[in-house]
């Protein structure tokens, strides 16, 4: 096991928001239909606002398609938008409409974002970005992703929890502080292993959670 080290490191293929010079890189492996990723979405946004140019944020796809039947398609939609230079707007729309991820919805979002909707729909239909999404998924498994969302701070898996916004941002601050002004291209050992522990999961026990309802939907699988 690689001990939760991001593999491969952030590179040219990644979707990156924020400055390349930022001392702090937060990577999320996420699933657009996962309710916990939906909960994490505004928390990441808040972190981006608070940390400003100290933080660059990277999103990689980790769709659990058997649990979330629309997740793969939604991930491909974000990649199709990325091909037209609009990854982040689509990423945001998807997380803001987790309950409406049918193909027709995806194409509607593409139109609303001013994309070439015909190309978008064609690429979605053809599975043009299927491999890209699968590659992200595999890199996640290799990196020790064990559920969604999983975060990496400066290349090391963050097991410290994220559901408490203030605590999460505080943790990010602490990771950034010793590195301010330092080089940003070497992420190794930025997080001491001793800080890692079991990851507290947010309210996952309750049977009334939307997670369980989502699994009822019919399965789209070839």
């Amino acid at each position: 096991m690689n001990g939760g080290r991001l593999t491969p490191p952030v590179g040219a293929l990644d979707h990156v928001a924020g400055s390349a010079d930022a001392p702090l890189t937060l990577v999320e492996y996420g699933d657009y239909e996962c309710p916990y990723c939906g909960m994490a979405y505004p928390i990441v946004k808040a972190a981006q606002r608070k940390l400003g140019n100290q933080l660059r944020f990277v999103f990689r796809n980790f769709p659990l398609a058997e649990s979330h039947p629309h997740a793969k398609r939604a991930a491909q939609a974000a990649e199709a938008a990325a091909a037209q230079g609009q990854f982040w707007p689509m990423h945001d729309v998807l997380f803001e409409h987790q309950g409406a991820l049918e193909d027709a919805d995806l194409v509607r979002y593409a139109k609303q974002l001013g994309l070439d909707a015909e190309r978008f729909a064609r690429e979605l239909e053809a599975g043009t970005y299927e491999k890209r999404v699968r590659d992200d998924f595999r890199s996640g498994v290799r990196s020790g992703v064990n559920g969604t969302p999983t975060f990496f701070i400066n290349g090391t898996r963050w097991d410290g929890g994220w559901a408490d916004e203030a605590a999460f941002i505080d943790a990010l601050h602490r990771q950034a502080a010793p590195r301010l002004g330092g080089p940003s291209d070497d992420f190794d050992d930025a997080v001491p292993l001793a800080t890692r522990g079991p990851r507290p999961r947010p309210k996952r026990m309750s049977s009334s959670e939307p997670a369980l309802n989502l699994t009822r939907s019919s399965l789209r699988r070839s």
Partner: protein
């Protein structure tokens, strides 16, 4: 945490129910790598995550010709309901009667809880354990360790697996 069986020893054979009326014997899978994923309980949140992840990984496991078996002390009907609810496409074995007997064989039974450990074993085509890992019970171990183990089995494999297949015993 228990001391689970380490790499290098034969994976003890067993036969467990895979459905209410079907039993699976481990040795029936001889000739292929086998992943044994012991876990504490159907329906518990971490297990759900772990099994959901492995479910997504089946194609990757099959690339190594490996078979994945989930094992817990839950009964066969419970497994059936869990597998249906989570759309799991791999067998879940019931270490149900005598309770935990197979988990004990692997050093993966939690006496105080009456459940299996969250323990992973990768056995090679000859039925020898080549990798094992016991995760803290509340932590989903992910799949990277399994993939690395399968990869290292596959590396010398071309010849090894060939010879295993040709002199496979019935």
């Amino acid at each position: 945490m228990n001391t689970i069986l380490p790499a290098g020893v034969p994976a003890p054979d067993f036969a467990l129910n895979v459905t209410p009326d079907q039993r699976l014997r481990l040795s029936e899978l001889r000739g292929r790598p086998v992943i044994l994923a012991f876990y504490p309980a159907d329906w518990s949140p971490v297990c759900g995550d772990q099994m959901a992840l492995y479910n997504e990984m089946l194609a990757d496991f099959h690339e190594y010709d490996a078979e994945l078996l989930g094992i817990s002390v839950d009964g066969a009907w419970c497994h059936a309901a869990f597998a249906r609810d989570r759309k799991l496409h791999f067998p879940l074995l019931s270490d149900f009667e005598p309770k935990g007997a197979v988990s004990r064989l692997y050093g993966a039974y939690r006496e105080n809880d009456g459940t299996s450990e969250r323990a992973l074993f990768v056995a090679d085509a000859d039925g020898i354990i080549r990798w094992s890992y016991c995760s803290p019970v509340g932590v989903n171990p992910g799949a990277d360790g399994i993939l690395s183990a399968l990869e290292s089995l596959a590396r010398p494999s071309a010849s090894t697996r060939q010879s295993v297949r040709t002199d496979a015993r019935p």
